[in-house]
């Protein structure tokens, strides 16, 4: 029998005591001696400071209608920090499951997209990235239940653009802070606004310029999280959220909508109009219209066509979609009204005329014999400039030269100014142009405004390294050559003519109000950019000439039927020729009469004569301003707004003969559906038929306001309109030569680059062609 040595029990017992001694000792050490520090570790473990973006301020129109709003959306987010510890296989399993669940719930999601989002976020995103937006409660419950690591459903503030593409260039859009570096940079400038990657950030329009006002102060709170980084509860709010301030614009969305529709409509009509002989076919796919209140510089409408829907950017636009928008030939993201620069054409002649009168080169009554051609004296080559089609106007004074847009009159002024520069100075015309605000950014609260160009011998030498010749002065005198203006500058120049010298900085934003209390926090005052009174003696005959343009001059047809006797409009047509493109159509004017309220300018690219396309557009806008035609209500984006054809309809689309007369009202008088013969009348007819007012403007007899009210009472727009057309790729010829840069970052969307100072120029009305060259 083997006996157990009793001592050995004691040894084992001793070992057991040591074991328990060590365990109790360590337990005592941890829980009694170090409890405090472990408690701290535990707190920092489960508590995080998180920063929650505040609701962004809204952008409202003059009547308080929401152009950029916000709503809360349930979004599924991906937090890469909770996924990084898993191995790739587990991760892809989770991605596959989540995308299956989302697809089952009707939210199209690709596993690959989730993987791509994860990879992007894994660069260091501190904030969960949205992978699916606007999910329903169902998905919420599902995701919370399954507790997939890294996936959560959150409420996030999301931008809304209730009016869709209306005023999109003004409102702009938001993007997201892309990287930690970008966030750090932003935070350096605005310490208490704490941007995080993934936060929204205005990148265009008012959204961009007023980013600081619109962005609220984010909430900072301490939350308790679990081991999977899921927020369990809020422990403490360290900094309360403060919504961003609301921005109130000066524009009225109804007028803005009308301006855009008028543009679209006139462009469509221009496309159908046959080009004049020797001119290229009208492409007519882009343009802009600007209306200013001349009394304080407030922007009434600022339309650039084509436009885009900022809603596309709300959740981050896809690369393909952005590329498509950016590379589209008609460049919808480009704000032509403030960034497009064009030769001013004959609209420039007001500057030349003002220079002629103030320098004494001309008196208002001095007669010039317009022979259709002008030869520069003592010139050896390329010295002949002529009116297109060889139009001969005979004797004209300043008023008539403006009224009928005689080029030779102004050629002569240009040439003489150069010849007599010892008496009149080197740049009298340019100096006059600067008085009207050309050549400098107007200062409107929109990003990347173009300054345009007032060419001078000095900047010619600086930029092109070549000398200035008499021929350059000749071309410049009619707003061609290197002259470049924006539609906004053009409207502001004519506003300056209207005020007699006071030029305002265009006022797009009226005020900002606190997001909670509604109190005004920022008042945008009227800023006078220049207040040098124009010489009234010189101004009077110029204004006379401009008033004649609409009554007996180059825009007569366009203004036929407009109540000019009660609402006189002064204006000027312009037709500019751009290399290898159809003529650009311009018109700028102000009214009413001698106590003007508004100035309106329109530039329609590749649309023919100024009197044919731009002038009717301006006229139609003035109808709204004058109250001749009621302004239609701008529809919300959710409504069917395709009452007008979209810009890019196929050129060969059938033109219904109901084109002009859409109004199906019984007992309607007038014969607006009658096919018109001349382009101008077609324009006028279609005018009334298709846009804001179906009847009155087409029938001269029916233009009295009273009549207008009675016949166009229906508040809803006419229903019989061409069906919405799917947008085919544009078939237009290349529009610009400047393709070296994506358009939004350049100011040259439709700019004439004008590297050749002696570029052939053309003019309006009785169109003339200048055969330029080195003198």
């Amino acid at each position: 029998m083997i006996e157990i040595p009793r001592r050995r029990f004691a040894v084992l017992g001793f070992v057991a005591m040591l074991v328990f001694g060590s365990l109790y000792g360590k337990l005592w050490f941890l829980q009694i001696m170090s409890a405090t520090s472990f408690e701290q570790t535990a707190s920092s473990n489960r508590e995080r400071e998180i920063i929650v973006e505040a609701p962004r301020g809204r952008i409202l129109d003059a009547k308080g209608r929401v152009l950029a709003g916000r709503r809360e959306s349930l979004v599924v987010t991906l937090d890469w920090t909770s996924l990084r510890d898993l191995d790739a296989e587990e991760r892809s399993e989770i991605f596959a499951e989540v995308s299956d669940e989302l697809n089952a719930a009707g939210i199209k999601t690709k596993t690959d997209d989730l993987v791509a989002t994860y990879d992007r976020a894994a660069d260091g995103s501190l904030k969960p990235v949205i992978v699916a937006e606007d999910v329903g409660e169902q998905v919420w419950i599902l995701i919370q239940e399954r507790a997939y690591p890294g996936f959560q459903v959150e409420r996030r503030w999301v931008r809304t653009y209730p009016y869709g593409d209306i005023g999109a260039h003004i409102v702009g859009y938001t993007g997201t802070v892309r990287s930690t570096e970008q966030a750090t940079e932003l935070n350096a400038d605005n310490p208490n606004k704490t941007y995080l990657p993934g936060d929204s950030l205005g990148v265009a329009g008012v959204e961009k310029i007023f980013e600081q006002t619109l962005r609220g102060v984010p909430e900072v709170r301490r939350v308790e999280i679990d081991a999977f980084n899921r927020v369990i509860r809020t422990a403490e709010v360290l900094q309360p959220s403060q919504p961003g301030a609301d921005i109130h614009l000066t524009i009225d969305i109804d007028l803005q909508f009308a301006a855009e529709q008028i543009l679209a409509d006139e462009l469509r009509l221009a496309r159908r109009r046959e080009a004049s002989e020797g001119s290229l076919p009208h492409v007519g796919e882009a343009g802009s219209l600007v209306a200013l209140d001349v009394t304080d510089g407030s922007v009434v409408a600022l339309a650039s066509f084509p436009t885009f829907d900022p809603s596309d950017f709300v959740f981050g636009i896809s690369a393909e979609q952005f590329e498509f928008l950016e590379n589209r030939q008609d460049n919808p993201l480009f704000d032509r009204a403030t960034r497009g620069t064009y030769p001013a054409g004959s609209t420039w002649k007001v500057a030349t005329a003002y220079a002629a009168l103030t320098t004494g080169l001309r008196t208002e009554w001095e007669i010039w014999e317009d022979e259709g051609i002008y030869d520069i004296d003592e010139c050896t080559a390329g010295c002949r400039f002529q009116n297109a089609g060889g139009a001969v106007m005979g004797p004209v004074d300043l008023r008539e030269a403006i009224e009928r847009s005689s080029d030779t009159y102004f050629y002569a002024v240009g040439a003489e100014a150069w010849e007599n520069q010892t008496q009149v100075g080197e740049t009298p015309i340019q100096d006059a142009a600067r008085l009207f605000g050309f050549g400098e950014a107007s200062g409107i609260a929109l990003p990347n405004e173009a300054a345009g160009r007032v060419p001078t011998p000095e900047n010619r030498l600086e930029e092109f390294g070549t000398d200035w010749f008499a021929g350059d002065n000749v071309i410049m005198s009619i707003g061609q050559g290197e002259v470049a203006v924006t539609p906004l500058q053009l409207a502001n120049a004519y506003a300056t003519l209207a005020t007699g010298g006071t030029r305002y900085q265009p006022r797009l934003v009226d005020r900002a109000t606190d997001g909670e209390s509604g109190e005004t926090t920022l008042e945008v005052r009227t800023i006078v950019a220049a207040d040098e009174p124009l010489d009234p003696v010189s101004l009077a005959p110029i204004r006379d000439g401009l008033f004649r343009v609409t009554t007996t001059g180059t825009a007569t047809e366009a203004f036929t039927g407009f109540p000019l006797d009660t609402y006189p409009i002064a204006g000027k047509t312009g037709t500019v020729e751009v290399n290898n493109r159809a003529d650009f159509s311009l018109f700028a004017g102000f009214g009413p009469g001698l106590s003007p309220k508004y100035s309106v300018a329109a530039i329609l690219e590749e649309s023919g004569f100024g009197g044919d396309a731009a002038a009717p557009a301006v006229r139609r806008f003035f109808e709204l301003l004058a109250g001749v035609t009621p302004t239609p209500e701008a529809p919300l984006a959710t409504e069917d707004r395709f009452q007008f054809e979209r810009p890019l309809i196929p050129e060969n689309a059938a033109v219904p003969n109901t084109d002009g007369g859409v109004d199906g009202d019984e007992g309607q008088e007038g014969s607006d559906a009658t096919p018109a013969t001349s382009p101008a009348t077609t324009a006028a007819a279609a005018d009334g038929g298709v846009t804001v007012d179906p009847v009155d403007s087409t029938v001269p007899e029916a233009t009295q306001p009273a009549d207008a009210a009675s016949t166009t009472a229906p508040s809803t727009p006419p229903p019989t309109t061409p069906p919405p057309t799917t947008t085919p790729p544009t078939t237009a010829p290349a529009t610009t030569g400047d393709t070296e840069e994506p358009a939004p970052s350049t100011s040259a969307g439709a700019t004439q680059e004008a590297p050749d100072p002696a570029e052939p120029a053309a003019d309006d009305g009785a169109s003339d062609t200048a055969v330029g060259g080195e003198p």
Partner: protein, 379 residues
Amino acid sequence: MVALQSRAPSVRGESQIAKLRNVDWSLISFVLALVPIGIIAIYSATRSGAGIDFVWRQGMFFVIGLGLMALVSSVDYRAFRDFLGVVYILTGLALVLVLIIGAERGGTKGWFVVFGFSIQPAEFAKLSLVVVLAAIFTGRSGSVDANRIVGALGAVGAVSFLVLLENETGSILVYGFILLGILLVAGVPARVLLLMIATGAVMVSVLLSSDTLADYQRARLTSFIDADANVQESYNQRQSETAVGSGGLTGHGLFEGPQTQLGFVPEQRTDFIFTVIAEELGFIGGAIVLGLQAFILLRIFRVAQLARDSFGALICIGVFSMFLIQVWQNVGMTMRLMPITGIPLPFVSYGGSSLITSLIGIGLVQSVSIHRHRGTPVE
């Protein structure tokens, strides 16, 4: 307990009364106190994700375990000698079979899945080894000689080899400690014991520096020494230590421990169950659980001393060693006193195989206690 006891088949010639008198009731009451504490802790660790599921399952294991405990108690332990070969071979077969048809989880392949329940043969093998080793070192004649020692090493080695193939390194540690405890008490010369411990230490260090172990295994074993070396492993252990430490004297309150409730401690219902008790019930709770374990060990130790023969005594010492190393390793691991190995805390950790094994172990000890009087005839 009485009811269970009465259902157990009676051993010939002895009255139920006599048997009941020799049952170690205090040992049973400590066990009956400890298991419910474990179940409450399991509930605390799993209630947010699984509600009461684990409580039900553990309760069921408890009932089954108590039944088996009663059954084993009522059998005269001396009868096990006759089935040693069968027990050992069955254990070996189970361990081989689990390698072939077993399920894999968490890197180890040591589970039979039957009707949704997982059975872990490596757990039950602990008891087989206890009985086999106890038998090897006892007998009517002879002494503790080299043959017996080699036989014991072989028995443990073969089982350990199979379990190593399953990656159940934690169980091997327990086997080794059972062997050590039995060798010690059986009277193996001190120099032989020291030599074996030294050899074992060398083998472990060779193992750690060779490629035999998977990285994760090495990481787990070494993370407690070098806290920064293995981020994930040391992270787990630091979270566990933090949970224990933040409990303080009285704890955060039941179901209120943030580390527990927010899921910061891994494997909490099984290997890290002690953190739940320490965090939510504080030093007081932790000390009580450790104390109950100590009392259980003390009673087993006492039964060993009172055993009528060496076989009974060594069975008790084997079970004692088994519990001692598990408590030490498991609780030590949660406090960063020991490396991380997948060893459950007896009576407390969630897991059917572990709980039932522990209760059968108590049954063995009770059998020794019940049949300790010399007059009891051998079956």
